[in-house]
């Protein structure tokens, strides 16, 4: 099949700058009363699936916290489906939005309350291991960084995952695998290293 070729250039990216919290998480930036921070809540009572927290820190190449970061996540629901088109223009939020946005705090720490996603089909027709897509912006980041979070307790699925297997240096695959900590709500912990020995694998998807 023939494809059209692009006739316009994508608008160049520019850094989100040090004040990205004003525009993307205004209430976190103490600018209240205009609208709620988008993506603050992903769950409703009706959401099916295992409740989990995803927590981590964004750390720069000098080991310092990236306090002005914004982190967005996008994921499938527990059945491996993304939020459905039926609710597209509906006022009633789907029971699970699949999308979250959080500001990093002064220590570079972020936290999402979500559910563990199901497997999504990969380009090879086989299921990808359960994963969450991440996108990170901050001062000093010239184009939003795309990466993924995988789950340490899905070792077998991770072993066969299409994307993880594209990372030739196997040691670097570990930079995407969150460890599980038990608690009333289990936590998956993953730090994002922008640079340095433990630099996270970032993707140009």
């Amino acid at each position: 099949m023939l494809h059209p070729t692009p006739i316009l250039k994508e608008t160049p990216s520019q850094t989100a700058g040090p004040y990205v919290h004003i525009g993307m998480t205004p209430n976190f930036a103490e600018l209240r009363g205009v609208y709620d921070d988008p993506g603050a809540t992903m769950l409703s009572e009706d959401t099916k699936g295992e409740r989990i927290a995803i927590v981590g820190r964004v750390i720069d190449g000098a080991g310092a916290p990236v306090a002005d970061a914004v982190i967005e996540i996008w994921q499938a629901d527990a059945q491996g489906s993304f939020a459905g088109p039926a609710a597209r223009h509906s006022n009633s939020a789907p029971s699970f939005t699949g999308w979250g946005r959080q500001a990093a705090d002064g220590d570079g720490v972020f936290s999402f309350q979500t559910i563990k996603p199901g497997a999504v089909e990969g380009p090879d027709g086989r299921p990808q291991a359960p994963h969450v897509s991440l996108w990170i912006v901050a001062r000093g980041i010239n184009i939003g960084l795309q990466t993924r979070l995988y789950f340490a307790d899905e070792a077998a699925a991770n072993e066969g995952d299409y994307v993880l297997n594209k990372i030739m240096d196997k040691r670097r695959r570990q930079t995407l695998i969150a460890r599980r900590e038990e608690g009333p709500v289990p936590r998956y912990v993953l730090d994002i290293h922008l640079q340095g020995e433990k630099e996270t694998v970032f993707f140009d998807f």
Binding site: L8, K9, S13, L31, Q146, T200
Partner: protein, 248 residues
């Protein structure tokens, strides 16, 4: 909010032209020194996870969300500064409109001061200006908002670097891999060409894509000047779902 889900290869996106975007490490913009990944990004085609993405309904917006002149007013007083309408079309690389997508924007006030607790510039705060808002594109991909023209401001990079007047933009598109943050500048501003952050964009034609044009036809008479800023997101490689899914 929900998603458009496109199948594998045929609904895929054009590969991003990374040479058109700023590289990760740009020494003139010093904040990149410890924040730029040193490994190359791993280039993979998007999977279903990146070809889908959140969308937002028009009904989620409040009446003043796209009116920065009034949306943070404490006492009914309007924001101080030169009144502007900023508008434009969100398109993809195939020059097709991107309807129903969320556009967010934030900026300094008319004096060049952000309303942020870590902001130390001595220019005065305007009690009635918050400096942020949002809009959703219409069926033809157009967004618009009212604001005041932001001031230029100094920042600690070199000894005496100044940012040209600019507005920050965040755009979603319909796929998570289309997600884009950029900045808009104002036609005719000589400050554009001496800014280290502008200078991270490698190509002069790329920088010109970031400059909004004064649009005399769309001024609001006796009220506000108009600037037009179009935004181009990554395009899809296939047209096969055009009639079935909005915003393909």
């Amino acid at each position: 909010m929900s998603a458009i889900i496109l199948p594998g290869a045929d609904g895929s996106l054009y590969q991003r032209d990374m040479a058109w975007h700023p590289p990760a490490h740009t020494p003139g913009y010093k904040s990149t020194t410890f924040r730029a990944p040193r490994h190359s990004m791993l280039s993979l085609g998007p999977t279903k996870s990146e070809l889908s993405g959140p969308t937002f309904g028009h009904e989620t917006l409040g009446a003043l969300d796209n009116d920065l002149i009034r949306n943070f007013s404490q006492d009914g007083t309007e924001a101080i500064g030169q009144r502007l309408v900023v508008y434009g079309q969100v398109l993809d690389e195939n020059a097709r409109a991107v309807p129903n997508t969320l556009v967010e924007f934030w900026q300094a006030n008319a004096g060049g001061r952000y309303r942020h607790k870590k902001e130390g510039y001595l220019a005065a705060l305007d009690p009635n200006f918050g400096g942020f808002g949002r809009a959703i594109t219409d069926e033809n991909g157009f967004y618009s908002f009212r604001t005041v023209k932001p001031g230029a401001y100094p920042w600690p990079n070199g000894g005496n670097d100044w940012r040209p007047a600019h507005i920050h933009f965040s755009v979603f598109g319909h796929a998570f891999a289309q997600r884009l943050i950029t900045q808009m500048y104002f036609e005719g501003d000589p400050m554009i060409w001496q800014c280290p952050i502008v200078g991270t964009v490698p190509d002069k034609a790329g920088i010109e894509q970031l400059i909004a044009r004064l649009d005399r036809h769309n001024t609001t008479p006796m009220d506000a000047l108009a600037y037009r800023f179009d935004i181009v997101l990554r395009g899809r490689r296939s047209t096969m779902f055009e009639n079935r899914l909005e915003g393909n």
